[in-house]
Symmetry: C2
């Protein structure tokens, strides 16, 4: 046989069992999004490069998969330009389309392009693959799904509140214990204002984050090394050592940031969100000042979710941003969104073995094929069985019994129906429970009832 | 405002209402596939060009979207080669990946690559987009979904039978009246054998297809023009004028093809399939000798589905093929499959207005926002409402009533809940039916019951 075919590095095939698990994840997220009034949209895999370029920084531009123009792709490039071998310039001549890098920029493009048809606030969700020419490594793929929900055109903090409820509901349905972390960009801005150096926020959050590991003295030393004056470090002490309940933390912050208008606004926003959520979540929500993801992008609330029982990075994140559509010439639209990390959630559910059996079982009943006359009868029974909503199949060939049974085992089919001469004479079916080995001779109606009653493990 | 952003020609955005309709189509097909024991797989959007090239003919190769290699894509091409401007050779140097053109070749690649993990027969379905650099035109897109189901590794005709049942079930669920057409490549081979010229099959089927329009004499004239000898045309007469029930047609064919072994095999296969289906379908199934789709590809049964109440091309097709995986060095695997044309089915359901309301309604209940105290109460009610599975939302801002009501109208939300001072004092909700205008003051439990009872139109 010739060499086995393969797929591009960083991409994956999904087998039936993986698909069943992934569908369980996507369907759960989809259902909860819909429960909160979010509507699904889809955008094309390919966007014009003019839409994508310059939106993800210089590094991001390099990670875009570009599509060679069809037809004479070298038409618009001179011999001199060709020989110059300037890759970005060359690519700009031969490619005008690229694969989407995330769902946010296509969504912004969608909102601007369709603004006349949209009624604001627009609550949309989108579950589609994205592509990045990243160096493939464990857990990082060149094609992966994002599951985003965003509300644009409303500045109300109730949107933040509902997004936290969505996160809580989704992980409750998964049976995964999580901690929801919340911060606010305005609080971080207030801290920066207080120490007089806006560009030091990242140094500060990184240092604070190390408190448990390296201790207070070393944190302070790092801050001094980062060029933060002694007086500012002194003022930061209550923030570095911040502890207690969310209320206690906010009270401390309010004191520290009492001279910063923006800082106080951030505290107020956090207080609003936390107070509205009080008593409504199954999972803990915690104010965490070290949370600074997408700092240049978010302008208000920042969220992140950590699994409590599995060592893995953030499994969901999001935040409030202003001016999403400004890049496409439509300013002044505020939005807030979250994104579930489907691949990591897949790993978490696998590690904790949390997939419900009903979600991963496919065929519930296999009819063994003993020959044409028997198969004819089975086909008739199959019609009734399927009309009752039972996923069932007949082995298409009258193969050896052993082969048919190993097919049932390979597909993890929980029930097998046997129709031989005796059953055929009686117009009945012998039903075998593959887990217990138990066998029963049943009419079609009894067969259906029996499987429906066992539906929780079929 | 700067120029509106746009998407590449031949691609589409799908709005919430379009997505709801498409999901209804995909979910229906998915459910029926699963009912028959088919399991879903997914393959990456990008395949190696070595997998794709040469599988769709020269024309097909030109229609592949190729992805520019990341990094220094000009590394492997000399100045001389660059200046040669030979597009196929150039593309082969700078691109090693392409977007999939259909789901069949990736499926064949999947089967060969994963053959050690697979238990045959393998019944898989796959619903994913494909990309073709076709000239965009009405109803033809550069990105569109295919919905394929195939069984490989079984030569049993029960597979054909079940695929016809799947087609029948899917269109019954859609409420679309169709005619299922069936033919067999072996019958066509028999006819070619009979007239001594295999390459004339297409001419013959094309001519026969015109009988209704141009009449028998003109059909015979066309056949003669195509170079078919008078004696052969004489023999073809019963085939050209073939009519009556499937049984009558098969009887005629059996007589005409009595000297062709392969022709008789084809008739026998058709008879088997039709006899097993007898009385089990809601839609008519008809033997149609003019059916010759994918002639070079199919080796046995050929299927096609036509909508009876809408003028549109084939909305589903398929057939039996041998040696699917031979192109990847794994010979001898027979398969049979079907593919639903989602875009055309979408058009048919639109034209006939067949979407069930429950499938296209998104949010069922909107809470009007009258201010913070009222919203607090609504948020509590919302928790119970959503826990009951009702898709509900609150307008996030305390905007003018008119604005909130037009939001409900734009989203076609059937129920609106009003909580003002009076309701707040009573801890009740005024429910307004947006269709009838009727209003009722209800407790949370009554509200839930009322909406659940109206679920068929919410």
């Amino acid at each position: 046989m010739s060499q086995k075919p393969s797929i591009p590095k960083g991409t994956r095939d999904f087998s039936p069992i993986e698909m069943a698990k992934r569908n369980y994840i996507f369907n759960t997220i989809r259902e909860v999004y819909a429960l909160y009034g979010f509507q699904q949209i889809e955008t094309p895999a390919m966007e014009n490069l003019s839409t994508l370029m310059g939106k993800y920084g210089e590094e991001g531009d390099k990670l875009l998969f570009k599509i060679l123009n069809s037809g004479d792709c070298l038409r618009d490039i001179s011999d001199e330009q060709l020989l110059e071998r300037n890759i970005p310039r060359f690519a700009a001549c031969v490619c005008e389309k690229g694969l989407r890098y995330d769902l946010t920029v296509p969504f912004a493009r969608y909102v601007v392009q369709h603004r006349e048809e949209l009624t604001l606030p627009f609550k949309r969700y989108q579950i589609q693959p994205v592509w990045r020419a990243d160096r493939p490594q464990k857990g990082r793929y060149r094609e992966f799904y994002q599951c985003d929900a965003d509300v644009v055109g409303s500045e109300s903090l109730l949107n933040e509140v509902e997004l936290m409820q969505i996160i809580d509901t989704v992980f409750t349905r998964f049976g995964v214990r999580v901690c929801i972390k919340i911060n606010n960009r305005k609080i971080l801005s207030g801290i920066a204002e207080m120490i007089g150096q806006a560009d030091k926020i990242v140094d500060i959050t990184v240092a604070i984050d190390k408190l448990d590991k390296i201790g207070l003295d070393n944190v302070n030393a790092e801050l001094a090394e980062a060029g933060i004056p002694a007086e500012a470090i002194e003022k930061l002490q209550p923030i570095i050592q911040l502890s207690g309940s969310n209320e206690e933390k906010l009270a401390t912050m309010r004191e520290v940031l009492k001279d910063s208008e923006i800082g106080l606004k951030g505290i107020e926003e956090c207080e609003f969100i936390l107070s509205k959520l009080k008593g409504s979540l199954n999972n803990p929500i915690e104010l965490d000042l070290t949370l600074a993801r997408g700092l240049n992008y978010y302008t208000g609330a920042i969220f992140e979710v950590k699994a409590l029982d599995v060592e893995i990075g953030s499994i969901t994140g999001g935040g409030r941003y202003d001016n999403l559509t400004g890049i496409f010439g439509m300013p002044g639209l505020s939005g807030v969104g979250i994104s579930f990390g489907a691949d990591r959630i897949f790993d978490v559910l696998n590690q904790l073995d949390l997939y419900p059996k009903s979600a991963v079982n496919t065929t519930q009943l296999l009819f063994v094929n003993f020959g044409e006359a028997e198969a004819d009868f089975c086909m008739k029974v199959l019609q009734s069985v399927r009309a009752a909503g039972i996923r069932a199949e007949i082995y298409p060939d009258a193969a050896k019994m052993k082969k048919q049974m190993s097919y049932a085992n390979a597909k993890a089919i929980p029930f097998v129906a046997l129709v031989g001469e005796t059953e055929l004479a009686e117009q009945k079916v012998t039903l075998k429970n593959m887990e217990t080995g138990e066998q029963q001779l049943l009419t079609t109606e009894e067969l259906i009832k029996c499987i429906m009653h066992n539906v929780e493990w079929a």
